[in-house]
């Protein structure tokens, strides 16, 4: 009887949780839509500047989120450029070449890197600049490149893990077939395994990009500012969407600015949501195989 009681309680609790969770999601998105939808106009992005002038001729935009969007896009591009080769290569290494002690050691390092809080990554970037200024590069400064570098370190574990997982879950038959055809280990990897694990690797790439797009703690310490316009160069200060939202939330000067914060949040949410959908699509393809 007591067991029955326990079972009933468990079922009731499970139902409550299962109702609560989607309700929370609805509340969050509903709230954002309510407060932000009215501000989703062209003026949100470009302020007073005509959009074509801003897009084509680089006219400076004030009171719009376009520079922040640009900053985020540049960050994503830089992070992808740096992280993909490094992450995929490390993943391949861990899946195919490492063994025994070195494999355990590297795996542990990757896990450790994955567990490092983003604020520490930002602190590291900041300390790096201080160190460089005292030693090698007295002109070093917090900038786009530094942020991209620190974000790359942040998302590297995602890439390494997903690459490794994708390759490790490939059937041995592929490797054996390749070997029987006379291909070297590297040739097997390059020609067969990578192609077969591509969906898994891509989904990891997309998750990494999503993480880089939404992170605020790292960029807070490594070069993002509230007003900078279009990033001029890799060594320039820049704006970014998540920081813009944080900044407006903390110090909006008018109801219009607060509404802009909610609209920007909607934009960021769309970006990360789309990335998630893309990643899921790719993973689904992998699972079908």
């Amino acid at each position: 009887m007591a067991e029955r009681r326990l079972e009933n309680i468990a079922v009731v609790f499970a139902w409550l949780s299962a109702l609560l969770v989607p309700a929370l999601l609805a509340v969050v998105t509903g709230f954002l839509l309510l407060r932000g939808w009215p501000s989703l106009k062209v003026a949100l992005w470009f302020g007073d500047t005509p959009p074509l002038a801003a897009l084509l001729y680089g006219a400076p935009v004030f009171d719009g989120i376009w520079p922040a969007c640009q900053g985020t896009l540049y960050l994503i591009a830089l992070v992808a450029l740096m992280a993909i080769p490094l992450g995929v290569a490390s993943g391949i290494f861990l899946a195919e070449y490492a063994s025994g002690r070195s494999k355990r050691l590297f795996s542990f390092c990757v896990e450790l890197l994955a567990g490092i809080p983003s604020i520490l990554m930002g602190l590291f970037g900041f300390a790096l600049i201080l160190f460089l200024r005292r030693t090698l590069a007295p002109e070093a400064n917090t900038c786009l490149l530094l942020s991209a570098f620190c974000l790359m370190l942040l998302v590297l574990p995602y890439l390494i893990s997903s690459t490794r997982l994708a390759i490790e879950s490939l059937p041995d038959a592929l490797r054996l077939t390749g070997a029987s055809l006379g291909l070297s280990h590297w040739q097997v990897i390059r020609r067969i395994l990578l192609a077969a694990s591509a969906p898994g690797i891509f989904s990891g790439v997309i998750l990494a990009i999503g993480r880089a797009a939404e992170d605020t703690a790292v960029i807070l310490m490594t070069g993002v500012v509230a007003n900078a316009g279009t990033p001029g160069s890799l060594s320039a200060k820049y704006e970014a969407l998540p920081f813009h939202i944080y900044y407006l939330a903390a110090e909006y000067q008018s109801p219009a600015e607060l509404a802009q914060a909610f609209a920007s949040a909607l934009v960021l949410l769309c970006l990360t949501g789309l990335l998630l959908l893309a990643a899921r699509r790719l993973q689904a393809r992998l699972e079908i195989k």
């Binding site: 200024r133 007295p138 400064n141 509230a226 007003n227 320039a236 903390a250 110090e251 000067q253």
Partner: protein, 280 residues
């Protein structure tokens, strides 16, 4: 129709055109210093300065898109540290530099505005006046209910600034007379953040630069004196400070041009529009 083309009308039109040209030239003259230049200016520090800095940056960047100006916050302490370490070109402070800071970094100060620091409460709060002593006791945690000072029966929600803030330092030295700010106070990171927090919270009390006062928050009179810029200028309101731009050594190039611009007629107009008292 012939009647209107008299010499008088032609003269007037000419005068109009001339004055328009002159006005344009005068305005353009301000920004002439930036014509044809390229480069960047990084500004950081005091949050009270930000409206003026943003405005100036906007005008300059619109006149010359080759120049990039970035404005960051952080507070006066950040301003000193960053400009001293060479991380930014101009470090803004809402307090004078200490002798150690000048000696350590070799900084030059340019005061461009007079500002005050006012106690801020929500417009819903019916308290209209506070004595200096009441403010000291509130921030020390000794008075914790609004009804003790004439408000409704509700707990006082304290908001203060982080330690890098020049606004905080001036408030602490001049109004609190270096008294204690209790540790349970909520900490916000800029004047703008203080304003938003106080505007949202009906039982809040904090402090902001007078330039940040608007209809979303209310500044009760201090010992009967209203915290306005006029009273700040005349000396009646005692909690005042100057706003400084600081550079490492003598400013050069674009930085010098920017400082001249902010202290010139255009910049003075922007300073006044932001709610501060220009010093020139």
């Amino acid at each position: 129709m012939k009647r209107f083309t008299t010499r008088g009308t032609r003269g007037m039109t000419l005068a109009l055109i001339c004055s328009a040209l002159l006005a344009g030239a005068a305005a353009a003259g301000e920004l002439d210093a930036f014509a044809g230049k390229k480069g960047k200016i990084d500004i950081a520090g005091g949050t009270a300065h930000i409206p003026v800095m943003k405005d100036a940056a906007k005008h300059i960047m619109q006149a010359n898109p080759e120049i990039r100006i970035s404005v960051a916050a952080g507070g006066s302490g950040v301003g000193v540290q960053k400009v001293g370490e060479g991380l930014v070109d101009i470090g803004n402070t809402g307090r004078p530099l200490s002798t150690e800071e000048v000696a350590k970094y070799g900084l030059k100060s340019f005061a461009f505005a007079l500002d005050g620091v006012a106690v801020a409460v929500s417009p819903k709060n019916r308290v209209a006046n506070l004595t200096a002593e009441q403010v000291q006791q509130i921030f020390a945690g000794k008075i914790s209910n609004w009804k003790s000072v004439g408000g409704r029966d509700a707990a006082i929600h304290l908001y203060t600034r982080d330690e890098a803030s020049g606004t905080r330092e001036v408030f602490w030295e001049k109004l609190l007379k270096k008294g204690v700010i209790v540790e349970t106070a909520n900490v916000v990171a800029s004047n703008g953040a203080m304003k938003s927090a106080v505007a949202e919270d009906g039982d809040a009390i904090g402090y902001v630069s007078i330039g940040h006062l608007d209809e979303t928050i209310k500044a009760p009179t201090l010992d009967g004196i209203s915290p306005t810029q006029e009273n700040a200028r005349s000396g009646k309101y005692p909690i005042v400070r100057q706003l400084y731009m600081n550079t490492k050594g003598t400013p050069q190039g674009l930085t010098a041009a920017f400082i001249t611009y902010v202290m010139g007629p255009d910049g003075t107009a922007m300073t006044a529009a932001a709610g501060y008292l220009p010093l020139h």
